[in-house]
């Protein structure tokens, strides 16, 4: 088990390193931070001074190495805009993001999974078809379109909810719903497929033939098996808790990590961008690790080599 965990961790570390390098390269290629932050009509000496102060005049590979060394010691750099440590800037936004992504996750799970299970149990009925049609609508509409539509209806026309910013719980409603619907739709379709696959298996027929009442066949026999593939998707959704709200935060002017990222990219504020990326990658990698471990718990077939003889 130790070797298993160690190899997974090593892979995780490698993934993180690659993510950061990639972000670094893309940002370097996309434009000079000094020009953007100082503005196009700043005097060249000031721009040059800025560059030197931030080490932007050093060769690329030196900058990269310097950055990596710093990360390993816990120093994630400073924002070029206001000089504060990037890590602080990012971490203070995390609770804001979680304030909408966590309830959204609750909606995705609480709405998506039951809908998918219900659809599978009543396959080809009107309810099934309705749920699936809604699901398709839910995940094909881009989140910003959905968000804007909701703003149009609930904020502008009906005036029930504010259209942006944060402050009260009312401000959170529309962002949470926008985020939740797309994920719930995906999860509904996925859960339905997983359930249908499981319900077609011979062991479900065995359970019925044993005299197990149908509701118990579903809850005791079908659901635990359908959970195995579903966990992958849910794991992915947990992984996007930090980063998944970028668009929605922009649409609703919600001051979370997503908005911070967008601003930082626009300003070529390297340290902040890299910090956010590292955080997102770390969350995703952690979520995947947990999913891998969960698999072992949920599916005994994955735990070790089978002891039975082959054949006959």
């Amino acid at each position: 088990m130790l070797r298993f965990a160690a190899s997974r961790l090593a892979r995780a570390a490698l993934t993180l390193a690659m993510v950061v390098t990639f972000a670094f390269l893309v940002l370097i290629a996309s434009g000079d931070p000094a020009d953007i932050i100082m503005g196009s009509d700043a005097p060249p000496e000031a721009v040059e001074a800025f560059r030197q102060a931030w080490g932007l005049d050093r060769p690329i590979w030196e900058q990269w190495l310097g950055y990596f060394g710093a990360v390993l010691t816990g120093d994630l750099g400073r924002s070029m805009r206001d000089g504060r440590p990037a890590l602080d800037l990012v971490l203070e936004r995390v609770p804001q993001t979680l304030a909408i992504t966590l309830p959204a996750l609750a909606i995705k799970l609480g709405l998506g999974i039951p809908a998918g299970v219900y659809a599978a149990l009543h396959r080809n009925s009107f309810a099934d078809r309705a749920v699936m049609a809604l699901a398709v609508a839910g995940f094909t509409i881009p989140s910003f379109v959905l968000g804007l539509l909701l703003v149009l209806v609930f904020a502008v026309q009906l005036g029930w909810l504010p259209s942006g910013g944060d402050g009260t719980w009312r401000h959170a409603v529309l962002p949470v719903v926008t985020l939740g619907i797309g994920g719930a739709a995906v999860l509904a379709r996925f859960t339905r497929s997983a359930m249908l696959e499981v319900l077609g298996q011979p062991y479900i027929r065995t359970a019925s033939a044993k005299g197990v009442p149908w509701r118990l066949v579903v809850s005791r026999h079908a659901l635990p098996n359908a959970a195995i593939p579903t966990v992958t998707i849910v794991g992915f959704m947990v992984g996007t808790l930090i980063a998944g709200a970028v668009v929605v935060e922009s649409v609703f002017s919600w001051p979370g990590v997503g908005r911070l990222l967008v601003t930082a990219v626009a300003n070529r504020d390297l340290a902040v961008v890299q910090c956010v990326l590292l955080l997102v990658a770390a969350t995703m990698v952690m979520a995947n690790l947990v999913v891998d471990l969960l698999y072992g718990l949920l599916d005994p077939r994955l735990r070790g080599a089978p002891r039975g003889a082959a054949g006959g």
Partner: protein, 327 residues
């Protein structure tokens, strides 16, 4: 006595398995020192249960895999390595018929096109397709059908037609009838027998079904855990099996009347990765003696009738008391 068309000597094929994350490597000897020979116009039946290595033997004989030891000679020449141009040319002379006809056919091509394909590859006259269809009992108009539009028996006939396209000298059939209904099995068996007679085909008929093997084979070899344990005339082996495993196999065949004194083997077929020492069958053998635990028996002719059997007891080793009481 003509030389055999196919001669395989001491074929061995090993796979290395890793047991879990921490276990060491386990060696699985899928085929362990198998020698066989098939003449033109003759069928050798290869019988055994799952994990005995019969399918792997079939692939080695065709040259689809390289043996780790031993050699295959076809028509006097050594088998070229898989993938080489010489090997590809040899495909025209040896073909395989598989168990699952639907899996063996491309779902997206009509069967006529699939039968024509080997003709195109080996540059033989493609006008032969209707003749091949007729030879297997399909109608010419069925050439335009897709595999899913045909029944199981018809699909298997299409597979056979495709195999016959290049007029091969050797046909390896790996469980060709197991997936078919009983009445269709009979049709396909009759067809194979007919084709062999007409074309002097050499056939390796691999099956777990002793009845089918008896029906079609001129000689039968019984395999257990990668080795041939008995070989001989099918009627003789079936009526008087020499090896304890063959005896169990023959007595296990379900038939009329409640069979008294049936030999029921204990336990499951052993894990090929966990091979017992000495004779691989000894843990399940009612007649095992001390030597069976230590020495692997060789396939040798028995005193008396010359039946090839790999068993110490069959060759007369019985003086020491048995490991187990007789069944």
């Amino acid at each position: 006595m003509t030389a055999p068309l196919l001669a395989a000597e001491h074929l061995t094929r090993r796979y290395t398995l890793r047991r879990g994350v921490f276990g060491g490597a386990a060696e699985v000897r899928a085929v362990d020192g198998v020698s066989l020979a098939i003449r033109r116009g003759e069928t050798l039946g290869l019988v055994g249960e799952s994990g005995c290595g019969k399918s792997t033997t079939g692939r080695l004989v065709l040259g689809l895999e390289r043996p780790d030891a031993g050699a295959v000679r076809f028509d006097g020449a050594p088998m070229p390595a898989p993938g080489t141009p010489a090997w590809r040319k040899l495909r025209a002379r040896m073909q395989m018929v598989f168990q699952d006809p639907l899996g063996a056919l491309d779902r997206r091509l009509a069967i006529g096109a699939q039968i024509r394909e080997p003709l195109e590859i080996h540059q033989i006259d493609t006008a032969r397709v209707p003749e091949l269809l007729a030879a297997v009992g399909l109608r010419a108009d069925q050439a335009a059908r897709y595999p899913h539009e045909l029944s199981g028996g018809q699909r298997q006939r299409a597979v056979i037609a495709r195999a016959l396209a290049t007029e091969p000298d050797l046909l390896v059939c790996d469980e060709p009838i197991s997936a078919l209904d009983v009445s269709i099995q009979a049709q396909v068996m009759n067809l194979l027998a007919e084709l062999q007679e007409q074309r002097r085909l050499a056939m390796l008929f691999i099956s777990h079904d002793l009845r089918a093997v008896r029906q079609l084979s001129h000689r039968v070899a019984v395999m257990y855990l990668g080795r041939i344990v008995e070989e001989g005339d099918p009627d003789e082996v079936l009526s008087g099996p020499a090896h304890p495993y063959s005896r169990a196999l023959v007595s296990a065949i379900p038939r009329r009347g409640k069979p008294g004194g049936r030999i029921v083997l204990e336990g499951d077929p052993p894990n090929p990765a966990d091979r017992p020492p000495g004779c691989a069958f000894h843990p399940r053998c009612a007649q095992a003696v001390a030597r069976c635990r230590a020495d692997e028996p060789a396939l040798l002719p028995r005193r008396g009738d010359g039946r090839l059997v790999a068993c110490h007891v069959a060759h007369g080793e019985a003086e020491k008391p048995s490991v187990r009481a007789a069944a």
